[in-house]
Structures are given as C-alpha cells and as structure tokens.
Amino acid sequence: METHQLHPENWVDQYADYLFNFAVSRVSNAELAKDLVQETFFAGLKSAKNYKGTAAERTWLIAILKRKVIDHYRKINSIKGKAEVRMTYSSQNDTDGDWLEEQVADPFSILENDEIENEELGLAIQECISKLPKKQSLVFTMKTIQGMSTEDICKELGINPSNLWVMIHRARTALMSCLNQNWFSI
C-alpha cells in the first residue's frame, strides 16, 4: 500500500479552502470556521508523529477537523453537543411489516438530500480547484467565489483583462473535465 507523507508547508495552499468549506457548512459562521481550520493545522502539526501514512493527508486533516467541530459544540454546551440517538419502538403499530424502515423519513423524497448533495458538490469543486495551477485557481476563486470585478482583480494581480479571461477559460475547462464524470448531466 502506498504510504503518504505530511507536508505542512503546503497545507494552507492545498487544503485551507477545502477544510474551510467543510467547517462553514457545520458551524455556519465564517470567523469561527476560520479558527477551527487554524486549530486543525496546529493540532495536525502537534500530532504529526502519530501520522502513520495510511490515509491521505487531506483525509487525516478532515478527521482532526471533525473532532474540532464536535469539541466546539461540546464547549458551548449546545443541544447538538449533547445529542444522542434514541429509538422508540412503537407498540401500537407492531403489526406485520411495520418495521423501522417505515418509520424513517421517506427515502424517495429528494428535498432532504439537497443540503447534503450541495455540500458534497462544494467539496468536489473545491478539490478540483486545488488541482489547478496556483495562478489559475487564484483568479478563478477571486472571480467566481468572491465575485470580484475584472478591473479589481487585474489591478491586484497586475495582469491585463485578456490575460484574465484566458486564465478563466483554462480554469473552467479544467474544472469541467475534473467534475465531468460525476456532476454534469449533459
């Protein structure tokens, strides 16, 4: 099996946005999510010697982040933090066929899945963005996610608009082929 190694110097460039998206969808607060990502990196650094190299770097960091999110909910002593799963086996409809499956949410309803699917989609896009060359991912992020104007981006990066559009084009084409298999309906 392939063993992985940690490269903490690349963490911010490669995983910060990915982890941040993951955290934001769980704590719904950008400032707090940022702190959790920061803490995750520090914790990762601290326990780097325990990293066995069996999981990919990102998977390992996500696992730490998940603990951080849970710790956060415990610390603020929220209902979410105290949550546990309870099941009541109803005695009234204890007849043939009426079993747990029929008591849970409708599996064919598409509404509840939307949120989860969108989160998966977000992480998939983020993963594809992180595979782009640095400059392209920067321009694409500024334009698409931060919604900055062409003029501002050009000024900040010292490029001209036609440079920008060429980079956007390359980024978009790369993203299309990266997301292709799973996410496009056409």
Binding site: N21, V24, I125, L179
Partner: protein, 75 residues
C-alpha cells in the same frame, strides 16, 4: 464571423454577465453554426449553476498568508 477562440472567451464573460450587446449577438450567431462551441457553452453554463448551487466559500488571501506565517513559526 468570429473564431471559436473568441466565442469561448465571450462565452466565459457571459458566465459573469460581462458581455456587451454586440458580443452577445456575435456569440449567438456563432453557436448557431458551431456544434462544438454550443456543447461547450451548455457545459459552461452548467458549471456556473453548479458553482452557484454549491454556495462555495473561501478564505480571503490575506487570512491565508497569516495562517501560513503562523504555521511556519510552529514548524
């Protein structure tokens, strides 16, 4: 008539609503006759709607720079 490269650039601008009226006309004319570009245009629009749907977030570049600095201090 415009080339496919030009059409692609206009199509990308369209995703950010930055096309001028003449550019729009040029693009529509091109898409009528070019199958490859109309496929690209459809996919490009779908990528835009995927990005919208995912409600992506990202850390501002200056936060990342700070984070990198903090992390480097601890390595």
């Amino acid at each position: 008539m415009i080339s496919c490269d030009e059409a692609a650039i206009i199509c990308n601008k369209k995703q950010y609503k930055e096309t001028t009226f003449t550019e729009k006309i040029k693009l529509v004319m091109h898409l009528l006759i070019c199958k490859t570009c109309s496929r690209f245009s459809k996919k490009n629009a779908e990528l835009t709607s995927l990005c919208d749907k995912a409600r992506l977030h990202c850390l501002p570049e200056k936060d990342k720079v700070l984070m990198k600095k903090d992390l480097r201090n601890k390595i």
